[in-house]
């Protein structure tokens, strides 16, 4: 890291903001309120940050799945159409090319997030919060990760313990500057 960049990083890390040790910048960014970013601000973090209000059951999810998902992903999440991913798969990963489906994820929030942003593939970002929770519940239930009578909402979803959760290791902490004290979120600690 160059001295100048170090100064910049230190200045920013100390909360001094811009203008401490660097050249002037054009300042052409337009200020925006966080509230006005809401339509794009759709990410969900492992600790549940970003989850909306609402809830859904496995049974509700089954009906929505049959209508909006099964055509590509297959009935009950198996036997998908050619080129599409199944949603039910092994939860033991004992070969380097074991198929990775929902049970591979470290956190259940990843499932909710990817459905919310990307599904259904031809018409993403059209599902309601209730549909998202219901589909998450149904797909987790198909994989026997939660029971058939469980309800998913902003409180219960982050608490789902995924079967593969404890099998991950950070690749090369030194090389990527991974600092476990500061870079792990609440859910990863």
């Amino acid at each position: 890291m160059s001295t100048r960049k170090l100064f910049l990083a230190l200045g920013l890390a100390c909360g001094l903001g811009g203008g401490t040790a660097v050249a002037e910048t054009p300042g052409l960014g337009q200020p925006i309120a966080e509230g006005d970013i809401a339509a794009w601000n759709i990410d969900v973090l492992p600790d549940g940050t970003g989850l909306p209000s609402g809830s859904g059951t496995v049974k509700q999810g089954a009906a929505i799945y049959a209508q909006k998902c099964a055509l590509c992903h297959g009935e009950n999440g198996v036997n998908p159409a050619p080129g599409f991913l199944p949603l039910v798969g092994p939860s033991k990963f004992d070969r380097i090319d074991t198929m990775k489906t929902v049970p591979y994820y470290k956190y259940a929030t990843t499932l909710f997030d990817v459905i919310r942003r990307a599904m259904p593939y031809p018409m993403p970002k059209t599902l309601t919060n209730e549909e998202l929770y219901a589909l998450s519940a149904y797909i987790l239930s198909l994989n026997k990760i939660i029971g058939e009578n469980e309800v998913m909402d902003a409180k219960s979803l982050p608490q789902v313990k995924m079967p593969n959760r404890d099998n991950f290791v950070i690749w090369d902490p030194d090389k990527i500057g991974y600092d476990p004290l500061h870079m792990q979120g609440p859910a990863m600690r």
């Binding site: 890291m1 960049k5 910049l8 990083a9 920013l12 890390a13 909360g15 903001g17 811009g18 203008g19 050249a23 910048t25 054009p26 052409l28 960014g29 337009q30 200020p31 925006i32 966080e34 970013i37 794009w40 601000n41 990410d43 973090l45 492992p46 080129g83 599409f84 990963f93 070969r95 380097i96 090319d97 074991t98 990775k100 994820y105 470290k106 956190y107 929030t109 990843t110 997030d113 990817v114 942003r117 990307a118 593939y121 031809p122 993403p124 970002k125 099998n167 991950f168 290791v169 950070i170 690749w171 090369d172 090389k175 990527i176 500057g177 500061h182 870079m183 979120g185 609440p186 990863m188």
Partner: protein, 439 residues
């Protein structure tokens, strides 16, 4: 004007490694030395050329000069291979034809592309980039406003971490360098350093990660350490001098030099500073690798040192014994390439290849090795080292650590695992037929 002594009197070149590898300096000193060697080495073709005639194009005016030129019609086969030519509802891959290219710059039309939901048709006048989250002031930028910022221009490779994945197969697939390694390309990128923009938004001290998200329909997003963002991350606007291609992120993409392609988020429209990784779909699944010991890697970001021979390689036909130049590309996400060694005997002996200047960090370096083939069976290999001291692993070393499939993989479109970077071997038999082999 003095008359310099001609160099054709040089003695014939002795091989510096097995099966006819010649001293790389033969190239650096110019062609005369090699030519001199060839007159006493393997025979030149010998037959006299036919008398020269004027061809039709020398006798008439040519075609209209187009506004945007494309390669000659005779180059119609120099194209990307596509995994989804009918745009079915799934991911599309387009691979770079390395065995048909030279130098280090990948032409924009041949730059590899992976699109998870087709090509978005983004109006640059409407596109916005917002930076928010753990910042002091969320800010929105446009293509027009970013165009007024101080820019940097840097040469960098971009590689899908699934590049070379067919080589996880327990048996070598008989396919081209394009099929094996076509998901890496190299370009000159111009844009605004992300650190410049983060200076304007300010960074909350709690921020340790950011997520970058695209404007494409799957809103692809990835988590990036703030440290990388402040190091050399760029909001790239130009690719080889012109606006970025739609398949490569038009009108802007995040560029993270040396990091796996998928993190270099295309069509980037949102950057959110976080105190934890987002654990997006792609970092949770596709780009987290299963290891032979039953553990899984998270956050394998760096594209490690790799090289492969492009000339000659599978799909080429040897034209009989004689002089050839072996060449290929080498690159590392850790920095500059420091050395490339070439073997023609399956790794028993090695000779150092010439590196084409300039050797730039996190960019393609073209290596070259003069070679006199006597027509015997050979196995060509290249092995690269980077300035951080990393050596490209042999296949045996690599699979001991990372494993291979139980059964041979049927198609080069499969991705059994990720981040494959061991040596590629091309076996040439006495008839000159080139095969992909494991050695």
């Amino acid at each position: 004007m003095s008359i310099r002594k001609h160099r054709t009197a040089s003695p014939p070149l002795e091989p510096v490694a097995g099966n006819g590898l010649l001293d790389r300096r033969a190239l650096l000193r110019g062609g005369a030395m090699v030519a001199g060697a060839m007159t006493t080495g393997a025979a030149l073709t010998g037959a006299a050329a036919e008398p020269l005639q004027n061809d039709p194009w020398s006798l008439e005016m040519g075609a209209v000069v187009p506004a945007y030129q494309v390669p000659s019609r005779f180059e119609k086969d120099v194209v990307r291979t596509r995994s989804n030519p009918n745009n079915e509802i799934r991911t599309s891959h387009a691979r770079t034809p390395h065995q048909l290219l030279q130098g280090t710059v990948t032409p924009n039309g041949l730059f590899f592309s992976i699109c998870h939901s087709g090509l978005p048709d983004i109006d640059p006048a409407q596109h916005k980039l917002v930076i928010h989250g753990l910042v002091k002031q969320p800010l929105v930028y446009t293509v027009e406003s970013l165009s007024r910022y101080p820019m940097v221009t840097r040469m960098h490779f971009l590689e899908c971490s699934g590049n070379s994945a067919p080589m996880f197969s327990s048996a070598p697939l008989q396919v081209t360098a394009q099929a094996l390694h076509g998901l890496v390309s190299n370009a000159e990128w111009t844009g605004v350093l992300l650190s410049t923009l983060l200076e304007e938004t300010g960074i909350d001290p709690k921020a340790t990660w950011l997520l970058a998200e695209g404007a494409d329909s799957p809103a692809l997003h990835r988590s990036v350490p703030i440290k990388k963002a402040l190091d050399d991350a760029m909001i790239a606007l130009y690719q080889n001098g012109e606006r970025i291609q739609p398949g490569n992120g038009y009108p802007m993409r995040l560029l993270l030099p040396g990091y796996q392609g998928n993190m270099n988020v295309k069509y980037v429209r949102r950057i959110k500073l976080l105190d934890q990784p987002a654990m997006s779909f792609f970092e949770s699944k596709t780009y987290s690798q299963i290891l032979p010991n039953g553990k899984m890697w998270l956050f394998h970001f760096t594209q490690e040192v790799k090289s492969f021979i492009t000339h000659p390689s599978f799909g080429h036909a040897m034209k009989g014994p004689g002089f050839y130049e072996i060449s290929g590309v080498a690159y590392s996400g850790n920095g500059r390439i420091s050395r490339v060694m070439v073997s023609a005997d399956g790794g028993k002996s090695w000779a150092q290849a010439a590196l084409a200047e300039p050797v730039l960090p996190k960019a393609f370096t073209r290596f070259r090795m003069p070679w006199r083939w006597e027509g015997q069976p050979v196995i060509l290999q290249s092995r690269a080292w980077d300035e951080a001291g990393n050596a490209q692993p042999t296949r045996a070393e690599f699979i001991a650590a990372r494993g291979q499939t139980d059964k041979p993989v049927a198609t080069p479109l499969a991705f059994p695992n990720q981040h494959y970077n061991s040596i590629t071997s091309w076996g040439i038999d006495s008839k000159g037929e080139i095969k992909h082999v494991y050695a």
